[in-house]
Symmetry: C3
Subunit: 268 residues, 3 copies
């Protein structure tokens, strides 16, 4: 059986050694904390969204993370353009369909991305993942109104259709490919009370995708590391305010023994 | 006499129970901390500014917060469009006229909003509020150069003209309608040394507007809760850096006894 | 010999007394922390990027900071327009060429700014500074791949060509004019693990440029104060997460004795 704890740690060590450049085209709300989470983990983040430069930046990057949290027309075009270039170069692509299902713009943008710049990994909450398969699924703003287990069938359909890995986050995180399902039972309830925790998980998934043996491993290891860091941060905090700084410190200070001790991965 | 402390707490409890979706079209500087403040309080924030989706997002929301802190052409149009849709649907609108009086673009944008998407509540500092009534009033960037008491006449004029509540923040906060004035003497001087504290007050005002009995109550209760959280945060901090995380924790941990004990509301 | 420690403190005192308005046209990632750093130091930050208002805002400001970290077409035009107006009015201009060398858009934008809105001070990392002089110099995203000492010749060329001061940040910071070089040996390695520390140094350089006797002094004093604050913050932190709040508190609480004790400035 795959020992995801050991492998997750090995990937962290690779990220720290290589400091892979992760190119993010992401939303305004989370640019700062996702850049900081990537730096704390050991990766090198860059944000760039201009049509004039996204292809060039993708050419320098080891992973591309596309997050649709605060869309507008020119950003959509930049995401498509960057995604195509990443595909052409074999740079792994992570898509975070923030708020898909809440508005047509968000759902159709993800559909365009899936068609024109097929992702390596899609990482979203249960409502967002369902909205990409079930026509009338709804999302409350950017928050999920569905349990993760209710999104697994949608995740598998998505994985089959697009040949990608789907990472569904919630109280339990579930990573799905066309023929595998792994559950990660790490994390803390306060992560739902800090903005951009899902977006941060997506950014870290990008860093792992740059070094992991497979996209599936990358998705699992990112959720393990994110979840463990969340648990450690919660132990040292009174609430979601102090939690944010502690999360960065937990990512920065993470060691093998801690990962092995805390990882709760269920491989069927 | 209205017991605003008790009522403020009751509104907090309502926000925590209902987690109202607050749609923010706000400035880049404060998107992250205002989203986090709304989450810490118990509301559900969403940021969306694309012309293609603002009306749809307003349709899901329980309040709309418009903040002009970092304007540009397409954002102004999105604000107008979202504001009209909110008006049509009866969704309460909070406008934060950040930097009104500093540049013509800011002042005229607020004037357009007041005319085309009449707000439920306007919340700004003394200079900003004055600039909306007195033609040659000036603002130093986004900071007030006037005392709150000097803005009360302007606030009343504004309230009368537009049938809205006006919330003026400063050392003492003053909430004004056409026939009432309430002073809130909560808060801490460090709140002027953290960017976006006014914007955060506006975002919280949106959450309260989603649940309060009246817009006037919403404006008062938001300033009470924000001010108390600021006092509690300052007690646990050395300066404005640590203060930010403590403010979020204070909002998250707030309980009835604390609100009742600390609220300093003057109803004439 | 110039006592930069004493002079740096005198400038901090001036900033606290005058609260100069620093107009930032900067990147989305760092807007919040740079505004907070300026406030913690005692300056008054404003962010404004609309073509319709940048000239008016420059007219209110005591310094203009242009940071190209997340460019797009309209922002470039706003930077040029603001820069020209600042030049016309004698408002000092600080340019931070974030990621120059990584993409053509970034390099050419800085070249346009150097030509059309000649800066008072350019502040960047070694790779960025080299890219402005050496045609094929590369930058890894926004991180430097060169040692500061390798950028001194480029910095001098840049200083001579454009009659500006060049501030190169790294393990040691070096401030260069056409006829002087000063090294600042303050700072802490974690500053490379927090996003926007260079951008924050540029913003503070803007505040110092508003009050310092000379642009050269402004550049040196900003790096001294930033570096000392970083050292103090690291002493009180476990990692780059907690460090961020501590850095703001250190800026806020800084006193003369601390500056004099910790400043490590090498004047040849």
């Amino acid at each position: 059986m795959t020992d995801h704890a050991k492998l997750a740690w090995a990937d962290v060590a690779r990220i720290r050694a290589a400091a892979p450049l992760v190119h993010n085209i992401t939303n305004y709300v989370v640019m700062n904390p996702t850049a900081n989470a990537l730096l704390a983990l050991g990766a090198s983040p860059v944000m760039a969204h201009a049509l004039e430069e996204v292809e060039e930046m993708v050419g320098l990057a080891s992973a591309l993370v596309i997050n649709i949290g605060t869309l507008s027309g020119p950003w959509v075009e930049a995401m498509i353009r960057a995604g195509r270039e990443a595909k052409r170069r074999g740079v792994p692509i992570v898509i975070d369909p923030v708020g898909s299902g809440a508005t047509r713009l968000r759902t159709t943008t993800v559909e365009r991305l899936l068609a024109e710049a097929p992702p390596t990994i899609v990482r979203g909450n249960a409502s967002e993942i369902r909205s990409l398969v079930i026509a009338d699924a709804a999302t409350k703003g950017v928050d999920s109104t569905h349990a993760v287990e209710d999104a697994i069938a949608s995740a598998r359909t998505l994985a089959e259709r697009h040949g990608c890995v789907v990472s569904v986050s919630g109280e339990t995180d579930v990573v799905v490919s066309k023929d595998a399902v792994v559950r990660v039972r790490n994390g803390h309830p306060w992560m739902a009370r800090v903005t951009g925790m899902g977006c941060t998980a997506s950014a870290l998934t990008g860093a792992f995708a740059a070094v992991s043996a497979t996209p599936f491993d990358a998705a699992v290891h990112a959720m393990v590391v994110m979840g463990i860091a969340g648990e450690l941060a919660a132990e040292r905090s009174r609430g979601p305010g102090g939690f944010q700084a502690e999360l960065l410190d937990a990512l920065f200070l993470l060691d093998e023994a801690t990962v092995v001790k805390h990882a709760r991965v269920e491989v069927p």
